[in-house]
């Protein structure tokens, strides 16, 4: 396959995202000039990239789409739904083509078949502008500048653009000017052309010392810079900021929060995340290495050289401090704003709500909250699921809403907050909510609980059954606000990310899911426990409490053991057995027990000793250990030993 395809896929996804953001922003505000310009650039760039390959009708479609935007820019057609809808349809189509393209290197037949329909949409009737409109039309481009912009046909025209038209004075050579050298000083020269102002003269009239040139250029640099280059010859040059750039400058104020992403892009660079991981790894090794100094200091003290020992220790402290800040800096490098995932939802919601015929507003808050890249990316699927569920089954059709005196438009809230080293994401709808009675009935139906248990549980507890595996497969559930569908899968993917998923619902008022996730994998609070001669790490988040238990308190129940904690009987397992270790049966003294959460249950796990707590970086497993159930990852301890971090829930199952 073409080696360029992976890069194409990366860029195309970004451009698709950009274009759809811009189109949605135009839909909300058709006069937003910078969105129009930005959408145009996204389509234009996308077309340029597609042109490098043979993706059948895709190039033609994008060309047509770009052409429409170009007409909208010059006011030949109006920005309204008849323009935006077909363009969004094209973008959605491109989006859904990318996966296939990145796998096979070409456009799938299924996708290709849709192209004629899209082309018809694009060539449909567009709205002509009202001749009376245009009271606050943007500053018109001088003709030369728009002609130049057109002619330049820039493939990648991101950022601000400066058009320059330079007619050197005929005598300028005598002033020591070198016009072509001058224009070459413009930074980021995207386009350069020069021509003779007058036709080539007859030999007797040709004066090699008279400058007869017209020079035109487009630069990606700033207006100030262009003005500086031509500062000494302002009479010979026209400089104009091309639209889009002006708009961006205008929106650079603090109130322009929706455009933060554009600003941010200018100061970010793409780094292979593997490189950052490598840095984190090295930083982790440094932590280990620096502890060698402590041993060295003890050795020095052993030789009776206390001053040297003190100096080594002082050094150790300094290095420790530096390593810690290096560590947090590289961890920080993996952080990206949630926006990367959140921004994909408006289009999807729009699409789904149009399909379902439900009018609703998606409210997104807190998209600037940052978290580890992997967490942000992995959140897409679970969030999508929750949002789709809310749309599909939570929010009622308009007529129903009106009958209940609710606002006709539904509300879907996607909101993120940072709470200490966690992020909290809420997905809430103001729809019909879940009926605990029906969940209770369904749970009994599915044999998940007995009638007796069911009636003993509170409504709130009973709702938790929608997360139970198997609950979702029940056919009767789909009319139960359909809440069961796939929720167990959502919860397990959130869990995989080290998070929790909670649910609250009130009949008639709506449903709210709250996801709590670590900001980053990088630092995990571990409890280090000892079994035999081995030490293991257990994430503190898995542990509800720790107990000392007299050996006599352990009761035998059937084949297993259990103990009573606050009037509840809790099964007791031995970690050594769970890990299939040969360990001496030395249970004479007190037992150290961790109470861990496993699904809805609490289980006691006994260990030989509970050592220290440690804040460490847990690496996802690679190589041999990958996929071994019960093991979450590895981490390096300060003494250089590798510690296995256990996944208690998997282990006890």
């Amino acid at each position: 396959m073409d080696e360029l395809i992976p890069q194409f896929a990366i860029e195309a996804r970004e451009l698709v995202q950009q274009a759809s953001d811009d189109l949605l922003s135009l839909e909300a505000n058709p006069r937003k000039r910078e969105s129009l310009e930005s959408a145009f650039r996204a389509f234009h760039t996308l077309k340029g990239s597609v042109g490098l390959f043979d993706f059948g009708p895709m190039l033609g479609l994008l060309h047509q789409a770009e052409d429409l935007l170009s007409q909208a820019r010059v006011g030949k057609i109006v920005v309204d739904a008849t323009l935006i809808d077909p363009l969004l349809a094209v973008i959605e189509w491109v989006d859904s083509s990318i996966d296939g393209i990145s796998q096979t290197g070409r456009l799938s037949e299924a996708q290709e078949k849709q192209a004629p329909r899209l082309l018809r949409l694009l060539t449909g009737e567009m709205t002509e502008p009202d001749a009376n409109a245009g009271a606050d039309a943007p500053t018109p481009l001088p003709e030369w500048a728009s002609a130049l912009h057109e002619q330049a046909d820039l493939v990648d025209a991101g950022g601000s653009l400066i058009a320059v038209r330079y007619e050197p004075h005929p005598e300028c050579f005598f002033n020591g000017d070198d016009p072509l050298a001058t224009i070459s000083r413009l930074s980021d020269l995207r386009y350069l052309a020069f021509s003779l102002k007058e036709d080539p003269p007859l030999p007797q009239d040709y004066d090699p010392f008279r400058c007869n040139l017209l020079i035109e250029a487009i630069s990606g640099g700033s207006l100030a810079e262009a003005e500086a280059v031509f500062r000494l010859i302002p009479d010979q040059v026209k400089i104009f900021t091309l639209p889009g750039a002006t708009a961006k400058q205008a929106s650079a104020g603090p109130e322009a929060s929706p455009d933060r992403s554009t600003d941010r892009q200018s100061t970010t660079m793409r780094v292979d995340s593997a490189r950052i991981d490598k840095l984190i790894e090295i930083a982790g090794e440094l932590i280990t290495a620096k502890n060698g100094l402590v041993t060295l200091a003890e050795e020095a003290r052993g030789h009776g050289n206390d001053p040297l020992a003190r100096r080594i220790l002082a050094n150790h402290h300094e290095i420790e401090r530096l390593v810690a800040s290096l560590y947090s800096a590289v961890t920080q490098a993996r952080m990206i704003p949630l926006e990367h995932t959140f921004r994909r939802f408006p289009r999807l919601v729009r699409e789904t709500s149009a399909r379902l015929g439900k009018a609703l507003d998606l409210i997104i808050e807190g998209e600037t909250v940052e978290a580890d890249r992997e967490i942000v990316e992995e959140l897409f699927e679970p969030l999508l699921h929750l949002i789709r569920n809310g749309l599909d089954h939570g929010i009622e059709p308009e007529a129903d809403r009106l009958r209940q005196s609710k606002p006709p438009r539904g509300r879907l809230l996607l909101c993120a907050r940072q709470r200490g080293d966690q992020i909290e994401i809420e997905v809430a709808d103001d729809g019909s909510g879940m009926d605990p009675q029906r969940v209770r009935a369904a749970a009994i139906d599915r044999g998940l609980i007995s009638q007796g248990q069911a009636s003993a549980l509170s409504d709130r507890d009973i709702l938790q059954f929608v997360f139970a595996p198997g609950f979702s497969t029940a056919s009767s559930v789909s009319d139960l606000s359909g809440r069961g569908v796939g929720l167990d899968a959502v919860r397990s993917s959130v869990k995989r990310l080290g998070g929790t998923l909670e649910l609250q619902s009130t009949i008639g008022c709506g449903t709210s899911f709250v996801l709590k996730l670590p900001i980053s994998f990088s630092m995990t609070q571990l409890i280090v426990v000892q079994v035999g001669d081995e030490r293991y790490g257990i994430p503190i988040s898995d542990v509800i409490e720790t107990h000392k238990l007299a050996a006599s308190a352990v009761q035998s129940i059937r084949a297993g053991k259990a103990f009573v904690l606050r009037n509840r009987t809790i099964p007791l397992l031995r970690l050594g057995e769970l890990l299939q270790m040969q360990s001496p049966n030395s249970h004479s003294s007190d037992l150290k027990v961790l109470v861990v959460r496993a699904g809805e249950e609490e289980i006691g796990v006994s260990v030989d000793a509970i050592a220290e707590r440690a804040e460490t970086l847990t690496r996802p497993l690679a190589g041999l250990l990958h996929g071994v159930p019960g093991i979450a990852g590895t981490t390096l301890l300060g003494d250089g030993k590798v510690l296995l971090v256990l996944n208690m829930e998997e282990l006890v199952q």
Partner: protein
């Protein structure tokens, strides 16, 4: 000498200032059909670029590896491509002299 003649090629080398344009034009006028080799030039003054636009000699050695700012070379080629008609009655008239 930054503008020099070697058999049937005019060679521009090093920094070619505006004052060199007369030499260049002298060659182009008196010996039509000469090629111009920009390969060794590091900087070429606008006056010389303009002469090349007027006389349209065949360019050799001015590949992408040229030391001269490539953007200028590309723009010159674009100009020459866009203005198809043989521009210089100069070359014709001087050959008929």
């Amino acid at each position: 000498m930054t503008v020099s003649l070697k058999t049937d090629t005019i060679i521009l080398s090093g920094t070619c200032g505006a004052e060199e344009v007369e030499t260049l034009v002298g060659y182009l006028e008196s010996l039509p059909g000469l090629s111009v080799d920009l390969g060794a030039a590091t900087a070429i003054h606008t006056a010389l670029w303009q002469a090349l636009m007027v006389f349209r000699p065949r360019m050799v050695g001015a590949s992408m590896s040229s030391l001269v700012d490539n953007r200028l070379l590309l723009a010159l080629n674009a100009f020459l491509d866009d203005t198809q008609e043989p521009p210089v009655k100069l070359a014709e008239s001087s050959s008929s002299q």
